[in-house]
């Protein structure tokens, strides 16, 4: 019984939140990796693009709520998501046209594009605060839980409960859908194949008649859409705070690098590696060990490896280890 209790406790506080957070990170890292694979620079504006997309989704959500449209028990923001994706993709394509295209045509070094992306980051940052303000926004209407702690306890008779939030299931489901769609696109369609070819060997792809403008456009469409989904899901799961997205940049980049920048499979694996490392290292194991160990062995303190305030340190440490041991990431290479 104690063993089962320990497992339920661990699932409730580590596995379920880790899966949801990992899905969000993986979606974010996929966007970073796509831009890197095609445009060959680290896009520091990615966090703010996620935030921007989530903001549009919230604005549309308010409009729906005002009009009394809802898809309860699912949160209304899901209904707003397609609109947010379309709007954000248009903005991102406009930004590419006005800002990034010039440096691409000039073949500027990647760091110049990176600096340009910090300029875009500044702009988005200001615009977001201008429109929606710096305060928190709640996104999760509809049914908040699929499985409640009390129901679980009553059903199983265990003393520990398992709660599953709607947003967690949606995160995982959306990630699976997006990833499946992305891989189908990259592997089966003509445009997807030309993107992979372009990423693998630009000159050879150009020689074979791949249209670079089209490839770049699709890279932004995909990266922008993934960013909106990731940003909205993060806001739905936690709460929408404009400033957190700048901080998400670190775990997202760490995820992309851990998996091998430019490699989509790597981005997904990296996202889950970072998420689970963060959750497992900052979880307090006191109660968990209490169930497993004999009662006089139970730890006195919280048995927490790192305070939750140091979760950034986890992504950083993993990043450092990867850079030291295997700088190319788990899945080497920069091919899509």
């Amino acid at each position: 019984m104690d063993f089962l209790n320990a497992i339920v406790l661990f699932s409730n506080f580590v596995i379920v939140p880790g899966l949801a957070y990992g899905s969000q990170l993986a979606l974010g890292a996929l966007g970073v990796t796509l831009v890197y694979g095609i445009l060959r620079f680290s896009n520091f504006a990615h966090g703010e693009i996620m935030s921007f997309g989530a903001m549009i989704a919230i604005l549309v959500m308010w409009a729906f709520q005002g009009a009394g449209i809802s898809i309860a028990p699912l949160p209304t923001v899901l209904l707003a998501l397609p609109f947010a994706i379309v709007a954000t993709v248009f903005i991102v394509l406009g930004v590419d046209r006005v800002v990034f295209r010039y440096y691409r045509v000039k073949r500027s070094p990647p760091l110049i594009l990176l600096i340009a992306s910090t300029g875009v980051m500044f702009l988005f940052n200001g615009v977001i605060r201008f429109v929606i303000g710096p305060t928190d926004q709640r996104v999760d209407d509809g049914a908040r839980f699929i499985l409640r702690v009390r129901d679980f306890r009553e059903a199983t008779g265990l003393s520990e409960g398992l709660a599953i939030k709607t947003s967690q299931v949606i995160s995982l489901g959306a990630a699976v859908l997006c990833v499946a769609g992305l891989f189908w696109f990259l592997n089966k369609t003509r445009t997807g194949k030309s993107m992979r070819a372009y990423s693998d060997n630009e000159d050879l792809a150009l020689l074979s008649g791949v249209n670079p403008d089209r490839v770049v456009m699709f890279a932004w469409i995909l990266a922008g859409s993934l960013a909106v989904v990731a940003g909205t899901l993060y806001g739905l799961d936690k709460i929408y705070k404009p400033f957190t997205y700048l901080q998400l940049l670190l775990p997202i980049f760490a995820a992309a690098i851990v998996g091998g920048v430019g490699n989509p499979v790597g981005a997904i694996v990296g996202g889950f590696v970072i998420a689970f490392s963060e959750v497992t290292l900052t979880y307090a194991y006191k109660k968990f060990l209490g169930y497993l160990l004999p009662s006089d062995w139970a730890p006195e303190g919280l048995a927490q490896l790192l305070g939750t305030d140091y979760k950034f340190a986890v992504s950083f440490m993993i990043l450092v280890v990867v850079l030291l041991v295997r700088p190319t990431g788990i899945f080497a290479g920069r091919t899509l």
Binding site: L111, A116, F122, L123
Partner: protein
């Protein structure tokens, strides 16, 4: 050559004019406040320019190095708190020794066992885990004891009680130490890995400063840092100052505040000129030419026998040290240490705008950028409010849209900075005062 010189003089003249206009139109006290922060920004921009302009290294962690400078002011200038030292000072030091020993043993073991990688990795991991738990076991009771001593007033170890000026070079040293660690890991790999690694270290440094109450009191802030300058109250009671103000017919309150700010300005200006002098000498020396050669063509420089990775590490450490000094100066000026005030936009990316706008690779450009961009950052809010006021003239006085926009005027700052950065990068990528390159003067 004369063209750039004239341009330099003209642009610095414009900057001086702007600051004088603030003095005439608003107040001299405000103008001096802006100037002091301009000087500190200029020193930070010089540090970033050393990394980016000389060597082409992208440091996205300026905030962390500046925060370490701030930490130095506490460690050096605050009076020690004997009760907390008694409660847990030895424990903290002992934990530090154990942690350092663990790292050393790990490095040693790895070098000895290198031939067999799997075996080496496993041993190192085992040593690291044991060392981590031993350190924690010593560290935590000590910290708890320290933080229990009068948490509302102290609850931290305090500092050494030395003059606060000493903290400036020490801030540089702390930042240099952090830069050494990051540089060893991330340099020599792809160029943007350094950007991401520095972004990470800066977030971690600020997280440590926010949460390690025994060291910095965390979010409770450290107030009342000693000043290197006289206090206004003392001045107002000093006989010579009273005589001075009555002779010249100044208001004593305002005169004392201006006097203090002038003292700060003198100190900061001395540091700025010193750093500027050294940077110029370094840039115009064989070392500076070598750095630019490495920046412009790493492969060719390597072929000439230059140690690219070593030089990069060197220049990265030097630049970070300058940023650390500037960070210490900033905390000294504020008179308090507030970890929550470290925001990446303000402390990392704004400094980048300064360097790009001023002219990367040119020290005078970086200084001008520091002045101009800080000025714009301060003035963007009132100007933005005026602009919004003007645009929304057609709307009713109490229209919600107009009020919302006016409330948001402060966010004109990031928008302006983003626009300025993008425009300069696109249309004048060499900045306001471009780099002086030896051979290609005619371009």
């Amino acid at each position: 050559m004369t063209y750039t010189r004239n341009r330099k003089i003209f642009l610095f003249g414009v900057m001086a004019f702007l600051l004088i206009m603030v003095g005439v139109l608003q107040s001299w006290s405000l103008s001096l406040t802006i100037i002091n922060l301009c000087i500190i920004s200029a020193v930070m921009a010089l540090g970033v320019n050393i990394q980016w302009g000389y060597a082409g290294l992208f440091n996205a962690g300026v905030m962390g190095f500046a925060a370490l400078g701030g930490l130095a002011t506490i460690i050096i200038a605050m009076p020690p708190v004997p009760e907390t030292w008694q409660a847990g000072g030895m424990g903290v030091i002992f934990a530090g020794v154990v942690a350092a020993a663990t790292v050393l043993i790990c490095v040693f073991a790895y070098r000895k066992l290198k031939p067999n990688r799997l075996y080496a990795n496993l041993t190192v991991a085992a040593i690291a885990v044991i060392g981590f738990f031993t350190t924690r076991a010593i560290f935590e009771p000590a910290v708890t004891a320290i933080e229990l001593v009068q948490p509302a007033k102290t609850g931290y170890l305090g500092g050494l009680g030395l003059p606060v000026i000493v903290a400036w070079p020490v801030g540089g040293l702390l930042a240099a130490g952090a830069a050494f660690i990051v540089g060893r890991v991330a340099l020599g790999l792809r160029s943007d890995y350094l950007a991401i690694a520095t972004l990470g270290i800066s977030e971690i440094i600020v997280a440590i400063l926010k949460n390690e109450d025994w060291l910095t009191r965390g979010v409770k802030n450290v107030n009342g840092l000693p000043r290197p300058t006289p206090y206004e109250v003392d001045l107002q009671n000093a006989a010579w100052f009273i005589e001075f103000t009555t002779n010249w017919g100044f208001d004593i309150q305002e005169a004392s505040s201006i006097f203090v700010k002038l003292c700060y300005m003198g100190l900061f200006l001395a540091v700025l000129l010193f750093v500027l002098f050294l940077s110029e000498r370094a840039l115009k020396s064989p070392w500076g030419r070598m750095m630019r050669a490495i920046r412009d063509n790493e492969t060719a420089a390597e072929a000439m026998g230059k140690d690219v990775k070593g030089r990069h590490l060197q220049v990265f450490i030097l630049g970070s040290a300058v940023i650390g000094v500037a960070g210490a100066m900033l905390t000294t000026l504020d008179g308090q240490f507030t970890p929550t005030s470290y925001q990446p936009l303000r402390f990392t990316f704004l400094i980048w705008v300064m360097v790009i706008v001023g002219g990367s690779g040119n020290n005078f450009g970086a200084v001008l950028g520091g002045f101009l961009v800080w000025f714009a950052w301060i003035e963007a809010e009132p100007v933005g409010a005026l602009l919004i006021d003007f645009i929304t003239l057609g709307l009713a006085e109490d229209s919600p849209l107009r009020l919302h926009l006016l409330d948001s005027a402060i966010y004109m700052r990031p928008i302006t900075m983003g626009l300025v950065l993008l425009l300069v990068l696109r249309f004048s990528p060499r900045g306001l005062i471009p780099e002086e390159t030896g051979g290609a003067r005619t371009r």
